[in-house]
């Protein structure tokens, strides 16, 4: 299933980044293929280990990714952000790794403690565990990846046994504080949020992406304009069309049919994830499954919502489909973990 999604992705990246005369082995699609191969390698590696052994690695990994997040801030700016660490030939995005390691760390924490018997200091620690990477990622700035941490955190809290009403109260506080937080955002981030409320506010500037992406999706109709036939895509009206806005390409060229296929495939993965979550008796495993499923699900929803104008443009890649090595590898790693959890159900 993930492989199927991935192939849809490859085709759309190929279409989105097509330049005439470019040999196939230099296309982005080909590079993505390579990343996928690495990702699959990771899956096979991770499926073979007993996931309990992973528990020992949780904290080192967590601190390592915090370290990388700090380091990335000292990296040269690229596209107006310190999001990438150049690693000889390719760029590594530590926020993707951080997302993954936060899920692991939270699973570990939640399996070690019970909500009924928590000290005040432990609560603070829990909060800090999420807040540190959260703010570091916002600092890069990478709004999308940062915000994804929030629903993951809440979902895992909920599964842990945290009372729903507290979560509601917490969300309420965040909402109340948001005008205050808004103040801290970068100008372009503010623009994006305002544009989300009214895309026609700046049709050639910040609203341009949303408008063009909506036109692309809408004009796809039932069956789409055919592979490589999307005018919005091929004429380069949609910016970032091989990364965050790849879904606009799929929807334009493949129409409603392709969009639904993509949607259903993602749903099947997420559903499977929650099923695994509910079937695993040990708490580390089920928390892990819950975190991963929530991550995949929300990323999909936010990304699709973003391209359709339902969410502000926050920069979340569509798992497995958007071009980007770090994202592909981390997503494959997560899916590998899910498979691992399914296969190594402890026998007690």
């Amino acid at each position: 299933m993930p492989i199927l999604i991935f192939f849809i992705g490859i085709l759309s990246i190929y279409s989105a980044s097509f330049k005439s005369g470019q040999p196939i082995d230099q296309t982005l699609a080909m590079r993505q293929f390579l990343w996928m191969a690495i990702g699959i390698l990771f899956v096979f590696l991770i499926v073979r280990v007993d996931y309990f052994k992973l528990q020992d690695l949780v904290w080192p990994l967590y601190f390592f990714s915090i370290f990388l997040l700090v380091m990335v801030l000292f990296m040269p700016m690229h596209l107006g952000a310190h999001r990438w660490i150049p690693l000889g030939g390719f760029n590594f995005q530590p926020s993707e790794l951080a997302k993954f390691s936060v899920i692991l760390a939270l699973s570990q924490f939640f399996s070690d403690h019970r909500p009924e018997f928590m000290l005040k200091s432990k609560w603070a620690l829990l909060f800090l565990m999420v807040a540190t990477p959260f703010f570091l990622i916002l600092k890069e700035p990478d709004l999308g990846t940062g915000l994804i941490l929030v629903p993951i955190f809440f979902a895992m809290l909920y599964l842990w046994g945290f009372k729903l009403k507290y979560i509601a109260v917490f969300i309420g506080i965040v909402c109340l504080a948001s005008p205050f937080l808004f103040h801290f955002l970068k100008d372009y981030q503010k623009d994006r949020l305002l544009v989300f409320i009214n895309p026609n506010r700046d049709p050639l500037g910040a609203g341009y992406t949303i408008i063009q992406s909506k036109i692309a999706i809408g004009s796809g109709g039932l069956f789409g304009k055919g592979f490589m036939g999307g005018t919005q895509n091929q004429l380069k009206f949609v910016p970032e069309r091989h990364t965050d806005f790849i879904f606009a390409v799929i929807a334009e060229e493949g129409g409603l049919v392709a969009s639904i296929i993509v949607l259903v495939l993602f749903w099947l993965i997420v559903k499977k994830g929650y099923r695994i979550c509910s079937q695993i008796p040990d708490r580390f495993g089920s928390q892990l499954a819950c975190g991963i499923s929530t991550m995949l699900g929300f990323q999909t929803i936010i990304n699709l919502g973003m391209t359709m104008g339902l969410f502000p443009v926050v920069g979340v890649p569509l798992p497995l489909i958007s071009y980007g090595g770090s994202s592909v590898v981390i997503t494959m790693l997560s899916i590998g973990l899910l498979l691992n959890l399914k296969m190594h159900r402890p026998l007690f």
Binding site: Y158, G218, Q232, A251, R275, F298, M308
Partner: protein, 573 residues
């Protein structure tokens, strides 16, 4: 249980997305489709005009005028191409089917336009422009058309423009060239391509689906190429071309203050205007397949045996090595026996006893056989290299040839045979394996004229009004006394009553020079004349080379005389 609730929540979110997809793609699909159809951005290229090529008196040698082309954008014209071609065909008076055939030969690339008709006249362009509403996807593009008013006279010098060939397209795309751009193919157009070329600008406009402008999105102003001012005098250039007429050959004139080329003629010539226009290119075959090789710039690309003009170097090689002096006498009975061969002097009767200055004046071969043999091949070889032979002179024109000077080593490695005295004798009078280009002969004689300044000649004086040319010389180390001896000899060539270069004389001008009559392997010999004037303070050096032109002392010296006379009239001398 809790996981199920989360999963239900997630499902709800997915459903929202799904419903929205339905809404956008099915219910509002038509609305978005029209929006996407309306979305058309065109890039119109604004070509930066190519710089002009001017002579030293800012006379135009090459410039561009505006021409109109009718082009079509395939993606927009597709639907009505047949009807459109008929309309266009009527206006232009061409068969609409031909236009449609040209359209069918399109190349991929969404925004690339296809040229349907080139260089249409202004009234046709306006007529099409008026009907553009009926012609979706069609447009009138303007293109600068290169013109060379001096036609054949400066063809090899200016060169011409030509379209890119397939392998160049990829390479040049990087430098901002478009597939349809033309580039300098020969001469100055080629060697100064990067200066002459304008930077294309562009106009990004949004149009509706009928190609009508909605609004301009952005403009990048095109930049003009730089004008070049040459050291060449266009009047002299065309005067010399008239003198050459159909005679194959080359004439090069250089001033000796900075080493600027005043004229660089090659004959036969071709009309660069034909090459630079789309319609004319159909007729260029006659030049390309002509056996007389009109495309070859003989001045820098022709390699010929220099004949007696080389005796200058032979003499200097012997003088510098103290093998002969001004009083050395060799007897000329009309031949010299070397080994078992008789080497003839050009005068069968012989010249009798000769000293150096007489030998120059009479171009006595026997004297120079002896001189060459006493100097030896190695000394002659060394002096030849010192005068820049067997290497390009470095003039700023493309594809200069090396020429060739033979040596002992070369003969051994190529023919596996020893160097014989006969070879030296041949070399001494500029025959045998030796080959020089006319421009090398020019640089050689200029070095004599200026007492050892080996010039790197140049053609371009100013780029965009900024002077780039400068005197660029390196010394040829010869004892001053020996320069005097050689120059006296060259003086005698023209001014002695029995000198071979008598015909080069111009009243009121003190000219020195050397004639050359080189065996060409055919019945008619090559005629050479190299010279400079005035002798006391040389300002001009010149080479006249006439391929199969007979005797240097007759045809070449005579032509040189006319050129010197022109230069005197025009106050260069």
């Amino acid at each position: 249980m809790k996981a199920n609730r989360l999963s239900v929540l997630m499902l709800a979110c997915f459903l929202v997305v799904l419903v929205n997809l339905f809404r956008m793609q099915l219910i509002q699909g038509d609305y978005y489709r029209t929006l996407s159809e309306k979305n058309r951005i065109r890039v119109l290229y604004l070509e930066g005009p190519r710089g002009k090529i001017l002579d030293r008196k800012t006379e135009i040698l090459a410039s561009s005028r505006l021409s109109f082309n009718c082009s079509v954008i395939p993606s927009e014209a597709k639907s009505r191409i047949h009807e459109s071609c008929e309309v266009i065909g009527n206006i232009l008076g061409v068969d609409p089917e031909n236009l449609e055939k040209r359209y069918q030969k399109k190349k991929p690339g969404y925004f690339n336009t296809i040229l349907l008709a080139e260089d249409i006249n202004a009234s046709q362009a306006i007529a099409i422009e008026e009907k553009l509403d009926l012609l979706p996807g069609f447009l009138i593009e303007t293109r600068p058309q290169r013109e060379y008013p001096y036609r054949e006279a400066a063809a090899h010098l200016t060169g011409y423009l030509g379209p890119m060939i397939e392998p160049e397209i990829d390479e040049l795309e990087f430098y901002g060239y478009r597939q349809t751009d033309w580039l300098g193919r020969e001469g100055i157009e080629k060697s100064y391509e990067s200066y002459l070329r304008g930077q294309s600008g562009g106009l990004q406009i949004e149009v509706d689906n009928r190609g009508r402008l909605i609004r301009a999105l952005g403009v990048k102003e095109p930049q003009e190429g730089k004008d070049l001012e040459l050291t060449v005098d266009a009047k002299l250039q065309s005067h010399i071309q008239q003198l050459l007429k159909d005679q194959k050959g080359a004439v090069l004139v250089m001033e000796l203050t900075e080493g600027g080329i005043l004229a660089a003629n090659s004959s036969p010539s071709f009309d660069p205007n034909l090459f630079a226009s789309v319609s004319g290119r159909k007729d260029v075959g006659k030049f390309l397949h002509d056996n007389a090789a009109p495309m070859v710039s003989r001045g820098i690309r022709g390699q010929f045996p220099p004949g007696s003009i080389f005796k200058v170097i032979t003499a200097l090689a012997a003088l510098e090595n103290h093998k002969i002096s001004s009083s050395t006498v060799f007897h000329c009975p009309g031949f010299k026996v070397i080994g078992r061969n008789r080497f003839r002097c050009w005068a069968d009767a012989g010249h009798g006893d000769q000293v150096l200055s007489e030998a120059f004046a009479h171009s006595c071969d026997v004297f120079f056989y002896n001189t060459g043999l006493s100097a030896g091949v190695d000394a002659i070889y060394e002096k030849s290299l010192a005068f820049g032979l067997s290497k390009p002179t470095g003039v700023d024109l493309p594809s200069e040839k090396n020429g060739f000077v033979p040596s002992r080593d070369w003969k051994r490695s190529t023919f596996h045979s020893a160097w014989y005295d006969g070879d030296t004798a041949n070399l001494a009078i500029g025959q045998g394996y030796l080959q020089v280009t006319p421009i090398q002969a020019l640089v050689m004689i200029a070095a004599v004229a200026s007492n050892g300044q080996l010039f790197k000649p140049h053609v371009v004086d100013k780029i965009g009004g900024v002077k780039v040319a400068e005197r660029n010389t390196r010394p040829v180390a010869i004892e001053p006394g020996n320069w005097k001896l050689v120059k006296d000899g060259l003086d005698q060539v023209v001014n002695s009553s029995s000198g071979t270069g008598r015909l080069a004389r111009v009243a009121g001008l003190h000219i020195a020079g050397k004639t050359g009559t080189a065996e060409s392997g055919q019945e008619k010999t090559h005629a050479w004349f190299v010279g400079f004037a005035p002798v006391e303070n040389p300002k001009i050096a010149m080479v006249v080379f006439l391929e199969h032109g007979g005797h240097g002392g007759v045809s070449a010296a005579h032509l040189a005389s006319s050129v010197f006379a022109w230069l005197k009239r025009s106050a260069y001398l």
